[in-house]
Symmetry: D2
Subunit: 145 residues, 4 copies
């Protein structure tokens, strides 16, 4: 389950995420489950910046699978630099790659993937991506990994 760590240049979009006191668990490290919250924060902020994703109208995105490999822990009060790329696009799905980096670092602390499907808000059924979403995916698509 352990992938090759990819450097920052493998990604196409970045967002800074500040850690919180409550993120740290009893070991003094940011709790592992929160890494997935950082992943979907990065993805949704990218999609909202492109205008495609709206909380209360338009298509919804549902997660069907996710994974994460952990290389080195974060701890509050560190700031996370989260990096994003699109690895694969299907008619109704998309696979994202995300790397979490310490400030100015080039070796990832963690690395993972999210698979989203596009869901019609009214019917709650899978639907094909609208054209502007496909363009948003292409804009940060990479061939590596």
């Amino acid at each position: 389950m352990k992938p090759t760590p990819l450097p920052r240049s493998s990604y196409r979009f970045e967002r800074r995420i500040t850690t919180r006191w409550a993120d740290n668990d009893v070991y003094g490290h940011v709790n592992n489950a929160l890494y997935y919250s950082f992943f979907d924060t990065t993805i949704t902020s990218y999609l909202m910046s492109r205008g495609g994703l709206l909380p209360d109208s338009g298509p919804m995105i549902f997660v069907v699978a996710s994974d994460c490999a952990y290389f080195r822990a974060f701890a509050f009060p560190e700031t996370i630099e989260s990096a994003l790329a699109v690895a694969a696009v299907g008619a109704k799905s998309v696979t994202w790659r995300i790397g979490l980096f310490g400030e100015g670092e080039d070796e990832p602390r963690a690395q993972g993937r999210f698979v989203h499907v596009c869901v019609d808000r009214a019917t709650q059924r899978p639907m094909a991506w609208p054209q502007d979403w496909l363009e948003a995916f292409e804009a940060i698509r990479t061939t590596s990994a």
Copy 2:
């Protein structure tokens, strides 16, 4: 990335987890990242019930990899029945399987894995599992999946 959904009989330990109002995201479903919190809650409550895991002394467990496949969403105020088994044991690592079920249901809403390594609290370096931990793993080990 989509595994075969496994029934409840594939697991050996269960814990109930109550959902919270804040778990629901804007789509009205429990946020996907929280599933991993349910996974580590299940694992650590099992280990604490066996006496091996102590928050402030003894070996620590660090996550090195995790994944989850999502079949059907939970929503507050549902209660989750989380089921656990050990899939593989190494000298310094363990792979857990977890299934999340609705109350009384036999088809999982989500299914995932956690890989933990054993870490010495003083040196923060990987160490071999103590004997009583290995026994705790064996007690819920399965061959399926």
Copy 3:
């Protein structure tokens, strides 16, 4: 800011809340901010059990003020028994009292208040409580504290 601790008999509705591994902070105690999540989980589960509160239609409730006094910490894997009463009802607002208890305990670990206002979903403006909500408040109203 420190109120008199009230026993369980001061409340009219209870809900069990299971703690999670990630709830514990570096001190090994459930993080203080989560107590408010337990408060609103208790309130919303009461309102949903009465049929008044629906996530996606009908009136919304917005918090305008909250407070909490902390007497003794919780720690994972403890279960919380959360107790609720209504302290005051206005035309467009309600004041809740909540006590958090350990299992079978009569002395609260924490005690707090929430003030909600009723908000029209379409206009996002305050509105008067519907009649069935007022009845739900009366059903657990107390005069103490």
Copy 4:
């Protein structure tokens, strides 16, 4: 329970906090309980920047009371500018005031207080503040409110 909203000039220390996708609840607003997480993030980052607070040694701080008044909601992907001051200092306690502001705004979205006591790590009993902590409090103490 509703205090007068205080402008940014009433505070002496600021920290930026980025919101997360999962912070938003079903109403599309940052969940109310998280405001307290922003409060303790602000306080602990101030104390850590002054060198007094260490996660694994030295005095601990336990919350004994907190409150918050909510004026206007935040929503992901907004960034929060959290402002801090010390309102009162006792031999073994301190009262903080916190205001949460939108970027560049002077009217608070929320305003609250935290009361911490100083606790000896070994005995878990209240203790008097060390001198350098008292100096950290004085450095951002205000007389207003």
